[in-house]
């Protein structure tokens, strides 16, 4: 009997324990579910907002601290979104996408009225950061912060290195120009490509054939095109003196206008204003490969003795130079477009590589202004080498200050 009672008591105890445990599990699970589904997470804290520094305005930098439930606590926060309004209780609009695991955001708008997302300066803005969970209905807003205004700065400190280098370079340029004007002889090393120009013009004169001068596909704004005008000026003057023909097909109407002025002036300087003909410099088209087709046609029909390509060139460089080879012309090229130099090197008799094109103007002109700036450029290069060496040394010792100073952002 005792044994039976003991056995029944044990069964009862096991039943009670099992029921209690099962109930506990259900309660815990239920409680967790409630937490995940209905309990709002802790909001982001310590929200700060300031005008975005070193900009032209229309931007505000925000920072905050992560919600206690982001990576800890309930682990329910999956990201954040920034909301903005123009009054504390106004309608808040989302200013960002979902931001994952970040504590800072730059709210930058458009600067011109009428543009989408225009963000006027000197306007009061109010911000809040919303901590989001997987359930779109469950979130937590931070405290509203404001008012804060955006405005532009007169000075961008991130570009201090640019200012210092420009100032240094201008100082060197002015110094050497003054020195050259004062009569100091500034040496410029021999540039084979440019020395060949005179020889090529002579050959064209002997053969009684014209010279083709291509200014490239650059606009009047490109430095390579500007350098090319100086060389064109020199070529046109020689051509006028030797009474050789000159053909200058242009890709850009403004470049054409400047080239016409350049050639006209050169003819006048050579005392041959009467020989100048406006049709020497003409517009072809503004479409890259149509222009090439046109210039190729000129090469094959007029058979110029010399082709000079100086300026900005792109994919057409090899097509032009190859046609020139086929036409049997002497070819001299110069461009600062690095990817096109190999084609000119391969197909032309002489090539001015990159900066040699700029130096050619000074080499030909021998004017104090150009010689002075060339000397200043050389000093700038020496400065670059010096800075690079300093950079290597400081980096080896783990100091990144100089590297950061020259890292221009924004």
């Amino acid at each position: 009997m005792r044994l039976k009672l003991l056995f029944l008591s044990c069964l009862l105890l096991i039943f009670i324990c099992t029921s209690a445990f099962t109930q506990d599990e259900a309660v815990v699970a239920d409680s967790l579910e409630t937490t995940a589904e209905t309990i709002s997470p802790a909001p982001a804290t310590s929200l700060t907002a300031i005008d975005k520094p070193d900009d032209h305005g229309h931007g505000i930098d925000l920072s905050w601290e992560l919600s206690a439930d982001d990576g800890g606590g309930l682990m329910s926060v999956m990201g954040y979104m920034i909301y903005r309004a123009t009054s504390p209780d106004g309608s808040y609009e989302a200013r960002s996408g979902l931001l994952l695991n970040v504590t800072a955001y730059s709210d930058v708008g458009a600067m011109n009225e009428g543009e989408n997302d225009y963000m006027p300066d000197y306007t009061d803005y109010y911000y809040k950061v919303r901590a989001l969970t997987t359930d779109s209905a469950v979130f937590a807003d931070s405290e509203i912060l404001g008012p804060v205004q955006s405005f532009g700065q007169w000075f961008n400190w991130k570009r201090l290195s640019v200012l210092l280098l420009v100032a240094g370079f201008l100082f060197l340029t002015v110094y050497f120009i003054q020195k050259a004007k004062g009569g100091a002889k500034l040496f410029v090393r021999r540039l084979a490509g440019i020395e060949a120009v005179d020889e090529a013009i002579g050959r064209a004169t002997e053969m009684g054939k014209p010279i083709l001068y291509v200014l490239g596909l650059g606009t009047a704004a490109d430095i390579a095109t500007i350098a090319s005008y100086t060389i064109l000026s020199r070529v046109a003057k020689k051509v006028a003196e030797y009474q050789t023909g000159l053909i200058v097909p242009c890709y850009d109407p403004i470049v054409m206008a400047i080239a016409q002025e350049t050639v006209k002036t050169s003819y006048m300087n050579a005392g041959r204003a009467d020989a100048y003909n406006e049709d020497m410099v003409y517009f072809v088209t503004n479409q890259q490969f149509a222009y090439v087709a046109g210039v190729n046609g000129v090469m094959l029909r007029d058979r110029p003795a010399t082709n000079i390509y100086m300026g900005k060139f792109y994919a057409e460089s090899l097509i032009l130079a190859e046609t020139g080879v086929a036409a049997g012309s002497i070819q001299i090229a110069g461009t600062d477009e690095i990817s096109q130099i190999p084609f000119f090197v391969v197909a032309c008799d002489y090539t001015l590589i990159g900066e040699e094109l700029y130096a050619a103007s000074a080499y030909l002109g021998k004017e104090p202004l150009l010689l002075g700036s060339l000397k200043a450029q050389d000093y700038a290069k020496a400065c670059l080498i010096f800075l690079a060496i300093i950079g290597f040394i400081t980096l080896m010792f783990g100091y990144h200050g100089i590297v950061d100073f020259f890292h221009v952002a924004g």
Binding site: A221, G294, R301, I338, P342, I353, L384, A388, M396
Partner: protein, 274 residues
Amino acid sequence: MDRSRRISLIIFAGIIILFILSWIIKSTTLLNVGTESLLSIRDAFFITFAAFLTLAIFSFLYKDNPYYKFAEHLFVGVSAAYWMCVGFWSTFVGNFIPKVSTTLSNFFEVPPKEFDIFYFIPLILGLMLLMRLSPKGGWLSRWSLAFIVGTTAGLNLIRYLRTDFITQVSNTFIPLLVDWNGIGPFFSDFSLSASGQFVMTLGNWVIFIGVFSGLIYFFFSKEHKGFFGHASRVGIWVLMITFGASFGYTVMGRVSLLVGRLTFLFKDWLGLIS
């Protein structure tokens, strides 16, 4: 009629016959696919004409000829006219008119924008540029040209200094010894994890020597003799190796353009490949 002229005429007649044949066959093919008859005739004409122009341009590889001349003049004329129209409608009508005149905006059916008096500056400069057409007022165009060249040169100074010079300076700041563990591990284990530091250090030295000698080559105000001469010789070697690599890379790009054109001929025109 001399012999060469007769041959030219025969070739011309042959091309016309081939063109018409191609047009008919292409139209039939398109009709079979289910395109409307008029559309198929039109599309077939354009495809055949495009193929003819492509072959006409390719014929330049043989020598200059009337077909190349035709394609060239058509290409140049159409593109020049097209860009003139684009310039007029995008710059003048699209950009200028809405900012200066509501009446003209309504006339050209573009939405007017807020009046901006500064837009008259480019208008005046543009008119001055057009004064080149007048023998007496031609000098006025020089003011516009001076403005364009001067302004852009000034703006480019800052842009180039920032993007080319300073970026180059900051990118050249690299350590010449990267977590140096000695040369031993490199020879004992060629895996990247073991030799990474050595390879990176070597790469940084190549950059340093390349930049240094390349810059020396571009020194113009000093004769390239002695140390300068040797350094500039290394510089030109570095440049030529770079150009060689660039040449190969670009040639591959050009080959892909040729493949694109051949695909048009063999797929869209002849239908030989699917």
